[in-house]
């Protein structure tokens, strides 16, 4: 168990240490945050907004083909790239600034 935990934590730390990565949020599909490296202001904002978008995106994919499944979502903006990885239970959200390289 601790090994699992350490693995995940090191992976999170590694991603966080990446250039340009501003934060990682693990949230459920309902928007409740499980783990976050962002501050208390950004975290709920990100979690609520992105989960909504992700569920919408999921709907789109599933509506086009019900057997398909959304796995990854990238939003490239002027300042950031928001990356969302979908799993059955959780959403893994990473905010990266690719220009900060």
């Amino acid at each position: 168990m601790t090994k699992d935990y350490n693995d995940v934590e090191t992976a999170l730390a590694r991603i966080q240490a990446h250039k340009g990565v501003q934060g990682i949020v693990i949230a459920t599909h309902e928007g409740s945050v499980i783990r976050s490296t962002l501050d208390n202001i950004q975290t709920p904002q990100i979690s609520t907004l992105v989960t909504q978008l992700a569920s919408r995106g999921k709907s789109v994919v599933r509506d086009l083909d019900p057997e398909d499944e959304l796995t990854f979502l990238r939003i490239r903006s002027k300042k950031h790239e928001i990356m969302v990885a979908e799993t059955k239970q959780y959403l893994l959200i990473v905010i990266q600034n690719p220009h900060e390289l």
């Binding site: 935990y5 590694r14 990446h18 340009g20 693990i26 783990r35 990885a85 979908e86 959780y90 690719p98």
Partner: protein, 865 residues
């Protein structure tokens, strides 16, 4: 015309006739009097009969207005002391005249003011003043009502009402009758007849006529002629108060002289209608001839009118109305029926049920108490409400259906299993609960979620993709433009990602191997070639998608010397270690330990294992691999179910050391040559070549473990690599520390070609796409790429890749134009080959021939095309 009630009080009833005479003289008309009085006046009967005896109550009631005045009791006592006469009198401007005519209440004052007034004449004192009358119309109405409850004081009809009535009821009839008469123009004068009949109508006494009759007569009279009160007074007698006879004269009436008027005409009234035709003939079908019809209608209705007036105060008003309506006699005007009709009405009046006493009657009615309405209501508690809303998408429907399908299948399965003993069922349930609980527990902790870990990996890769975006672009799209220029005989290598595992800066890259299935996955073995710097080794499996961190890491006890992915089972890695043991890892297993490990007991090598190589599965379909070590043995390892079985294939002996073969055990041991590398023939399974530390190269067979098939001249120093060409199976390359790479035909002990690279050659590898391209790395940190088809003597690319480091290994990717080079600082660099470095023949079939041609040329043999 105004009316009032006049009562002759008990003290003067004896002189009633006198008073009535005076009234008439003064122009008052008596409309109605108490019935007895009326009769009395007609019949002149005795006095007792013409009077009305009031009871005390009635008297009190009558004088109620004066109840609060003094002397009321005496007044009542006086009025009931004897019978009274009551009458209704009528006169124009009556209420103006009558106070003077009757006089003030006190006869004494009256005598002084007007000695002729009635009270002055008949009254004795204020109480017994003889006469009572109603002084104003309101009192008059009440008092008349008291004595004559069935009297109707109808208001004078207004002009409009009268007109309306005449127009609707009288004129049409009159008009019809008159016009008919005019049309008939009978021989005898009709004016008289009409006048007579009209007079007859009017003559009917008002009290005997039905209300509507009196009305019609009344209105006719009031319209048709002026009042003639003078005539009435002149007539005198008992009948004088009756309305006088008035002859109506139509305007166009014949004027007759006195003589003519006196002339007598005898007329007989009969029932024949003078206007009925008497000569009507009808055709009789029976007798077939016209016959005079005998029956004539002799009744003529001149006027028919249903009355609407009834006596006021009568009992059973409703019934009365019905009766009155039903029995309302039609105004039958026939020359003979007039009298009969009058008589009939009288009869009807008398036959009307028992008359009630008008003065002594009370009606009683009782009503039970009605139960009050009661309202009773009950409120039930409203059923609970809940608002529920949801969006339904196509995929939610799909999911629901598939879930339902699964459940149905499950249910069907369980049904087929249904006849299970009850005892196990409970147990099963428990199991289920337990497993569910553990599941829930597992799901609760986010870091145990495998999907999340996969997502983490993906995210990391994506972050890396962003970080190394330019490199990714180069990897995919960059082609060196300079290759198109010049003689196209030189190319370049573009450095891409660098892979380094932070933990092991001091480790050297001792092995490199691409995964045969995933084009982006490769394993790197870390260890050390330096005897003094040995330590734990490591295997890191990287992917090009994540240069910053390996996907898998395995720590080994000693340095890794070699590793190899199984070509058919890409998750299996065979590893050779510095201490001579071999390991097998399965990267699909989530464990950090090897699945197989050689033991000292089980034939472990005693020196570093320089190379491992998987072979085809044996006859029992067991996986097996070969290893070569500097202890002089080549060993086959077979993976059984739970053990690693070893078979020594060959012991490498010095070719020329014959004493070794016959010598003692120790000598034999020392006489063994240290194997450094080997490679297997691509076609002939049992053939392989081994390079040794001493620089010799031997061709061996798995089947003959006693001797070599062929001994090559070899190198001056240790042979690091031997590689068969993937296209032309008989040629192989060898790389050695003596700065050379040699190309051999494996049937020839002398090299076909020799390339000097000015440095210790760490590794050499054939390109997978062309038979004539190979690459080598040297300790100088250079990579050499040869294309023998282009240049047999010099490399087409010689590039410094790392500085201050020795390159140890090189590996071509099977799918992409990428090579990996590893150095002794623990770094692996990926390089992209420029287009010139990866030219190939049009078809793969030409490739072996290409190499053949090159070698033949080098040997000075003629080309075989």
């Amino acid at each position: 015309m105004e009316r009032t009630l006049l009562v002759i009080k008990p003290d003067v009833t004896a002189r009633a006739t006198e008073i009535i005479a005076r009234l008439k003289q003064a122009g008052y008309r008596i409309i109605q009097a108490s019935a007895r009085l009326t009769r009395a006046m007609r019949d002149d009967d005795d006095e007792q009969k013409r009077s009305v005896q009031l009871s005390e109550e009635q008297a009190t009631d009558f004088y109620q207005e004066e109840m609060d005045q003094g002397g009321f009791a005496q007044l009542v006592a006086f009025i009931i002391s004897g019978p009274v006469f009551a009458m209704v009198i009528e006169k124009q401007n009556l209420f103006d005249d009558i106070p003077a005519f009757v006089g003030p209440r006190s006869p004494d004052i009256g005598r002084t003011l007007n000695p002729d007034c009635l009270r002055a004449v008949f009254g004795k004192d204020e109480l017994r003043n003889g006469i009572h009358y109603s002084e104003d119309p309101v009192t008059a109405r009440r008092e008349i009502n008291f004595f004559f409850p069935d009297n109707i004081i109808d208001p004078l009809p207004s002009m409009e009402h009268a007109k309306l009535f005449l127009e609707s009821a009288i004129y049409p009839t009159l008009l019809q009758g008159l016009t008919e008469l005019c049309k008939e123009k009978p021989a005898n004068p009709t004016g008289r007849f009409v006048a007579d009949s009209a007079a007859t109508d009017i003559q009917a006494p008002p009290e005997a006529a039905m209300p509507q009759k009196s009305l019609s007569a009344h209105s006719l009279k009031s319209l048709d002629g002026p009042e003639q009160p003078a005539g009435a007074g002149a007539a005198g007698g008992a009948d004088d108060w009756l309305p006088p006879k008035v002859l109506l004269k139509p305007p166009g009436q014949l004027q007759l002289s006195e003589k003519e008027l006196d002339e007598e005409f005898t007329r007989i009234l009969n029932a024949n209608n003078p206007h009925a035709p008497q000569n009507i003939a009808r055709y009789n079908n029976k007798e077939r001839m016209f016959k005079a019809s005998p029956n004539m209608e002799h009744i003529v209705f001149h006027f028919e009118f249903d009355g609407y007036l009834i006596y006021r105060g009568d009992e059973g008003g409703e019934n009365k109305i019905e009766v009155a309506v039903d029995s309302a006699p039609k105004a039958v005007s026939s020359s003979t029926q007039q009298a009969e009709a009058d008589g009939g009405e009288d009869e009807k009046k008398t036959s009307r049920g028992p008359l009630r006493n008008q003065f002594n009657f009370s009606e009683r009615a009782a009503q039970t108490v009605n139960n009050p309405y009661r309202e009773r209501s009950t409120n039930t508690e409203p059923p609970p409400q809940r608002t529920y809303s949801m969006n339904v998408n196509q995929w939610t429907i799909f999911d629901t259906y598939s879930e339902d399908l699964q459940q149905k299948e499950k249910a069907a399965k369980e049904k087929s299993k249904a006849p299970a003993p009850g005892g196990t069922k409970g147990h099963k349930d428990e199991d289920k609960g337990a497993s569910m609980a553990s599941d829930a527990h597992g799901e609760d902790v986010y870091y145990k979620n495998l999907e999340l870990r996969k997502a983490l990996i993906t995210i990391e890769r994506m972050a890396n993709q962003n970080t190394f975006d330019d490199i990714s672009q180069d990897y995919k799209y960059w082609e060196d433009a300079s290759d198109e220029l010049g003689d196209r005989k030189s190319g370049t290598l573009l450095p891409l990602w660098k892979f380094a595992f932070e933990k092991d800066k001091k480790k050297q890259v001792t092995a490199l191997c691409w995964n045969p299935q995933s084009p982006d996955l490769f394993a790197v073995g870390y260890g050390s070639y330096d005897f003094s710097r040995q330590g734990p080794g490591m295997i890191a499996i990287f992917t090009l998608k994540n240069p910053s961190h390996p996907e898998y890491v395995y720590i080994t006890e000693t340095g890794v010397m070699s590793l190899h992915f199984h070509p058919q089972h890409p998750s299996m890695i065979a590893v050779g270690l510095y201490d001579g043991s071999v390991l097998v890892y399965n990267i699909q297993k989530k464990v950090d330990s090897p699945i197989f490990k050689s033991t000292t007991k089980g034939g472990r090598h005693t020196d570093p294992v320089w190379q491992v190589c998987w072979q085809k599965d044996d006859l029992d379909d067991n996986l097996n691999f070969f290893s070569v070590s500097s202890d002089g043995r080549v060993t086959q390892w077979t993976l059984l179910k739970n053990e690693l079985l070893h078979t020594d294939v060959i012991a490498l002996k010095y070719d020329n050391g014959e004493h070794g073969q016959n010598g003692a055990e120790d000598e034999r041991l020392f006489s063994l040559a240290g194997g450094c590398c080997f490679d297997f023939h691509k076609r002939v399974e049992h053939l392989f070549t081994v390079g040794t530390e001493e620089g010799k190269i031997y061709k061996c067979s798995k089947d003959y473990n006693s001797q070599y098939l062929l001994s090559f001249e070899g190198h001056q120093m240790a042979v690091y690599t031997v590689r068969y060409n993937p296209f032309h199976v008989n040629y192989f390359l060898s790389a050695s520390a003596d700065w050379t790479v040699k190309l051999w035909d494996h049937n020839d002990s002398k090299p076909a070609m020799v390339f000097d690279l000015n440095g210790s050659v760490g590794d050499v590898a054939w390109a997978p796409y062309s038979s004539t391209v190979f690459a080598a790395v040297t300790a100088e940190g250079k990579v050499f790429v040869f294309d023998l088809n282009e240049n047999k003597y010099a490399p087409i690319c010689e590039q410094q890749v790392v500085r201050k480091a020795k390159l140890t290994h090189i590996s071509f990717n099977q799918f992409e134009p990428i090579i990996l080079v590893g150095d002794d600082k623990g770094t692996v660099v990926s390089l992209k080959l420029s287009p010139n470095l990866r030219r190939k023949s049009q078809t793969p079939e030409e490739e072996p021939q290409k190499l053949e041609n090159v070698i033949n040329l080098a040997k000075g043999k003629p080309l075989t095309m």
